[in-house]
Amino acid sequence: MAENERLQAVFERDEPAFIPYLAAGDPDYEASKAYVEALARGGADVIELGLPFSEPIAEGPTIQNAIVRALESGMTPDRFFEFVEELDVDVPLVCMTYYNLIYQYGSEDGPRPFVEKAADVGLTGLVVPDLPAEEAGPLRAACDEFGLDLVFIVAPTTEGERLERMREQVSGYVYVQARLGTTGARDDVSDQTDESLARIDDWDVPKAVGFGIKEGEHAARIVRAGADGIIVGSALVDIVADGAKSDDSVEAVAERLERKARELKDGALAGAADSEPRPERT
């Protein structure tokens, strides 16, 4: 199983990873680039970049709307790859998108052309929320071929055999879904998080928790619960949405994003400081 080196390097450091998400092209190509770069400045360790798909069945309203804005501003898979190439950031980038876009890319049906191109522009991994382990064979193979990680999501409902199957396929990190439902910022941290982390406690892959994290305090709480990283999407997308709505300058919004990123990153670090030292990883 491929382990992308850059992604691996992130989790080998002795601190929790902060993994923010933004939809590429939201609200437009240039602003979006500035926003992603702001996240990097704010301390992102990995960035999940959404390639917008017209039927985002796993997303809540916040990210749905971001995707609509990005699509309306002309984002396409080809533009997305350009976007990634043009980005001036130093951290590993993971593409989050739906399977149909991966399947349709290029001249032949199937995931290979997409993955080849993704590797080519320097993406380090993929998250595909509508692709369970059962249907992931061809994509897994293409990722292996081109050295990309394929991140899977462990849901609160994932148990038993399914958990085993996923353990075999996952690489890079495992995305631990903090609660049932779709993406979206919440005001609390779910107990389901602890249970989920406990269920995969012995997995030999970094565990990043997402779905609903909104504040530094949440981040700390989750790292204390044993997470190796935190994934934050809607709370950041909210800032982009507010900026777009109020017609604020790109700089002002980028500034806010950077500040929020730092809050979250600091929260995660604080959580790590409270915890016992994390075991070394191989």
Binding site: I57, P77, Q104, E135, T157, L180
Partner: protein, 431 residues
């Protein structure tokens, strides 16, 4: 049937859903096998009893005198419009709500386009005393008002879906989101032969009572099998229901095991799936709009709403906005089994445009005293345009009645210059 293994139909089917739903889908697959396929706890007996007493089955196969004369062919109508709720949808909704009950679920959710699946689900849920919420796009809410009222009267909550164009596609996505949150106590009653396995085969099985009855009825009434079966296809549930028991009548040589004495081939029953041609088959890639829903004729393989199937999509793989005068056909996907049967040459895909469907709507109303759903009218428009393609004996599936479409029909008829004698001024008196 063509689902030989693991919910795949040739290259189509599968389970492309968020991980959170997978356990529920496995649970459902297990329940489907036990209760539906193996009649555990007498599930299928109870289902059939309720279809009879609550639904009104068996439903007649009616010889259509006026149409038969007009087209010089024996036209039989499978009258699903007489099913409780006014469309074939109850066959499936009742089956799934009952299954949810056997599975110990406590809540029902469903999407709806035309509102027929929503009303059927709301009725079934009321009948079986289950709380029920229905997701419906805002565009569909506006063009199918009576059905919105009916769902609410039956005690269901109707949740408007405002994203995108607000039609069936968005409603399905939204219902999947609800399910992803509530999957532990909730069953998602999907409304057609779409979605992740086991939905396509399960919905087909619940709907196949249509062709089970029709096959007996046509043998009794015409003394033979039909030369063709014609049904409209949105997702394809009435289509698969009407085709299921004729799929094997493919005119092929029988295998020696099946041979009785001679070695004549089986009868051939042509299966014709009529989609919505909308206003045009052309597609506007730029704006992502298909002015039709002719997925089987013009779509391309892809993944949507949990299954690999034929889709209306642009070259990037973004799903197009489909369009049809009939809300129930207005969908960018189609059932994976139907897609496979088309690839195999067993099902003939066809489409007719909005005008032809409206004309057929008026023709059937005036000549046979049956007001069909606009969806159903597409099947009759095909018959009108291709009377020579259906053979000597054909069954047309009357998938539903048109009460829900009155306002749309008046509005859309007024806009056009149809090739049928309708005096629109007569509709003003009572407006």
């Amino acid at each position: 049937m063509s689902d030989t293994h693991a919910g795949k139909f040739g290259p189509y089917g599968g389970q492309y859903v968020p991980e959170a739903l997978m356990p529920a889908i496995e649970e459902l697959t297990d329940a489907y096998e036990r209760y539906v396929l193996n009649n555990e706890d007498g599930f299928m007996d109870e289902f059939q009893d309720r279809l009879r007493d609550f639904g009104g089955r068996p439903i007649p196969l009616q010889y259509a005198e006026q149409l038969s004369e007009r087209y010089d062919t024996d036209v039989y109508l499978k009258r699903e419009d007489l099913l409780h709720g006014g469309a074939h949808k109850l066959n499936n909704a009742l089956g799934q709500v009952l299954l949810a009950k056997y599975m110990g679920k406590e809540r029902i959710i469903a999407e709806t386009g035309a509102g027929q699946h929503g009303t059927a689900t709301a009725m079934a849920a009321a009948h079986l005393d289950m709380p029920c919420e229905i997701y419906m796009g805002k565009t569909d809410i506006n063009r199918q008002r009576p059905n919105v009222f009916r769902m609410r009267l039956n005690g269901a909550e109707v949740n408007p879906v405002t994203v995108g164009r607000g039609t069936l596609k968005e409603a399905i996505s939204e219902t999947m989101r609800d399910w992803a949150t509530t999957v532990e106590n909730t069953h998602y009653v999907i409304g057609s032969v779409v979605g992740p396995a086991p939905f396509p085969q399960m919905v087909r099985d619940f709907q196949s009572v249509i062709s089970e009855e029709a096959r007996h009825q046509i043998e009794e009434q015409a003394g033979r099998l039909p030369d063709s079966v014609v049904a409209c296809a949105g997702g394809g549930s009435n289509t698969m229901g009407a085709f299921a028991n004729f799929v094997e009548d493919d005119g092929a040589e029988r295998s020696s095991a099946e041979k009785s004495s001679g070695d004549e081939p089986r009868d051939r029953v042509d299966l014709i799936a009529v989609e919505a041609g909308g206003s045009s088959l052309a597609v506007d890639e730029e704006s992502g709009v298909a002015p039709n829903s002719a997925t089987l004729s013009t779509g391309h393989e892809g993944v949507l709403h949990g299954a690999r199937t034929k889709l209306l999509q642009d070259s990037d793989g973004q799903i197009m906005e489909s369009h049809s005068v009939s809300a129930g056909l207005d969908y960018a996907g189609v059932g994976p089994e139907l897609a496979h049967l088309v690839d195999e040459g067993r099902v003939t895909p066809a489409n007719v445009d909005d005008d032809a469907a409206l004309e057929a709507f008026h023709r059937l109303s005036q000549e046979e005293g049956i007001i069909p759903a606009l969806e159903t009218a597409h099947a009759f428009a095909y018959l009108h345009e291709n009377p020579d393609a259906v053979g000597d004996v054909t069954i047309v599936n009357v998938s539903g009645r048109g009460d829900k479409d009155l306002e749309t029909v008046i509005e859309e008829t007024e806009k056009r210059d149809l090739d049928v004698d309708v005096d629109m001024s007569i509709f003003e008196g009572a407006m």
